[in-house]
Symmetry: C2
Subunit: 346 residues, 2 copies
């Protein structure tokens, strides 16, 4: 079974001390696996989630005949902290509930996932880590924090550090969401969410998620929408109103905002952290991604030994990596296959 | 004298019937002139304002030794309807006040400006119409509505019709501004503006106004700001809080949203309207403008007989045309000079 109805597992970490100094007692990491871990535990692929994504939102890149075929690979999809399934403002009891949920870093996510992989599965090697958007950010951090484990990496439509412009984009989303007085500093009642703010955040996000050309060409028709306004309401507002708790969104936004492998203890700079990566890498920005532009990833690739930059062509912008466009999906799937066919060392 | 303290004039039109069917009784067009109209009234340049801009915000492109030298040219800067100086929600008495202020089209602005030019100055020929952003939109509309008058046109960082993506960007600004409950459907008291919504709109706008590279390179330091957050507050929030009435902003936003020379009566399409332009044209998008991308202007130029596309290089994005960067100012000034030196017919 797939989708939201499929069963999934939760790994409970009795206490997880976060970089900010707070400790979640316990931290819960929700995850789903596909396929079977082989006897020598050498076929595990880690595929973290993106901003507000859930494990089932990654299923589009998995399946029989695809590069990530569950017959061959054991794919683990861990839900990001704050996404509503793993420990989040919405599901953590007082005193760390809701607006008091602590700040979560990308490295906190990687640390929790590392405990999941080692404590539950005894995994010591990852043939591949990959992810879209914030999933790409986690991929980069995995390669920097655990070079002994990560053999290959394929971050798509993301970055190793959140650029200043990307932060400004996020500021707009945050400001729109919290401008609604119903937000009440995060202490909105369960039956009185700041719906106007969520809808505003959705409209702000809409201009960034897809490219100018995507809108010019009315490519949203391929997603079944019937007018621009129908796309803004049906896709974007619907997206943000689909059970996405505002405090959860702000927790993940904060994680995103602060992402930077260069702040990993022991490294003096982002360049140094990138230079330490030993995984074979194909880095895939999307040609018209407005907040993870290819030029930023070109810069990153220049610092990773042996890494390849492979731009996803077309007009879907950031959502080239979202699984909604079959052409982009085929392009990414081909790169995953190629990377997995290569020897681990670059 | 220059700036906000300089005196300016107001032309009162006893009744101006708008495209939406409402009539302003009267409509008031605030304007400022630079230089002296010559005896045969052949040296007038029209330079309309941009989204929320006031006449003094256009002064950077005027001056002794510049292409638009007031010693030679009679430059008229009309304030856009809705900008707070010309008839606007903030200054119109009931019943058309505030949230009831009528919808204003780009053509309504051109019609009011045409009456100003003909009734006050007896001008029949415009050697040049130019403008930034929404000023570019008015420039296009002038060239389509009055081909007998407009000899040359230089729209920069704008468009002949507002693209779908541009509309989505505007939706985000509008949603952020109005998400603040203090907006009260536009009926906020004078002493209780929706400040949170204005600040949110400012933050949404911030990501669009300048390019990714502008933020990456911290080019805001050239504007005297000391950190990214200082730029967001000092420049952007300060911009939106500088007396910019929310209803005024929404009136101009609506004007912008609906801009399209192709809806001019008598034309079947935007292409046909562009094809009717007789003015000699240099069209100047900015290389990294995120909401008026060069590809859209390349398309427009392809439909204007004899028009030249001249992209403003660099990283300032939309604000390449705002007058804050001396390099861009020199580039635009040179184009104005070149265009004015050419004969009127393309």
């Amino acid at each position: 079974m797939t989708g939201a109805e499929a069963s999934y597992d939760v790994h409970e970490i009795p206490d997880l001390t976060l970089e900010c100094g707070a400790t979640l007692r316990p931290a819960r990491i929700a995850y789903q696996t596909h396929g079977t871990l082989n006897a020598d535990r050498s076929n595990a692929v880690l595929y973290p989630t993106w901003y507000s994504g859930r494990h089932w939102d990654n299923e589009w890149l998995l399946g029989p005949g695809m590069a990530l075929d569950p017959d061959r690979w054991f794919v683990i999809v861990p839900n990001m902290l704050g996404n509503g399934l793993s420990s989040s403002p919405s599901n953590t009891p007082p005193p760390y509930d809701r607006a008091r949920f602590p700040r979560i870093s990308v490295r906190d996510n990687v640390a929790a996932q590392h405990r999941l992989l080692t404590e539950v599965f005894g995994i010591e090697t990852l043939p591949l880590v990959l992810g879209w958007s914030m999933g790409a950010g986690q991929t980069y951090q995995w390669a920097v924090s655990h070079p002994e484990m990560v053999q290959r990496m394929l971050p798509f439509c993301g970055s190793s550090r959140t650029s200043p412009h990307n932060r400004v984009f996020l500021e707009g989303v945050r400001a729109a969401l919290t401008a609604d007085g119903a937000f009440r500093g995060g202490w909105y009642p369960d039956d009185a969410w700041p719906i106007t703010g969520l809808r505003a955040a959705a409209r702000v996000y809409a201009g960034w998620g897809f490219s100018q050309a995507f809108y010019r060409d009315e490519t949203w028709r391929e997603l079944g929408h019937t007018s621009l306004e129908d796309f803004l309401i049906g896709f974007w507002e619907g997206f943000f109103l689909d059970g996405r708790d505002p405090n959860n969104l702000l927790t993940m936004l904060d994680t995103w905002w602060h992402g930077d492998v260069g702040t990993t203890p022991g490294f003096a700079s982002t360049e140094a952290a990138l230079g330490s990566i030993r995984a074979r890498a194909i880095v895939m920005p999307a040609q018209k991604d407005l907040y993870f532009p290819p030029e930023d990833e070109e810069w990153a690739v220049g610092h990773i030994p042996g890494a390849e930059l492979r731009v996803i062509p077309g007009t879907w912008g950031h959502f080239a990596g979202g699984g909604d466009n079959p052409v982009d999906t085929a392009f990414i799937d081909a790169a995953v296959r190629e990377l997995l066919d290569q020897p681990p060392a670059a």
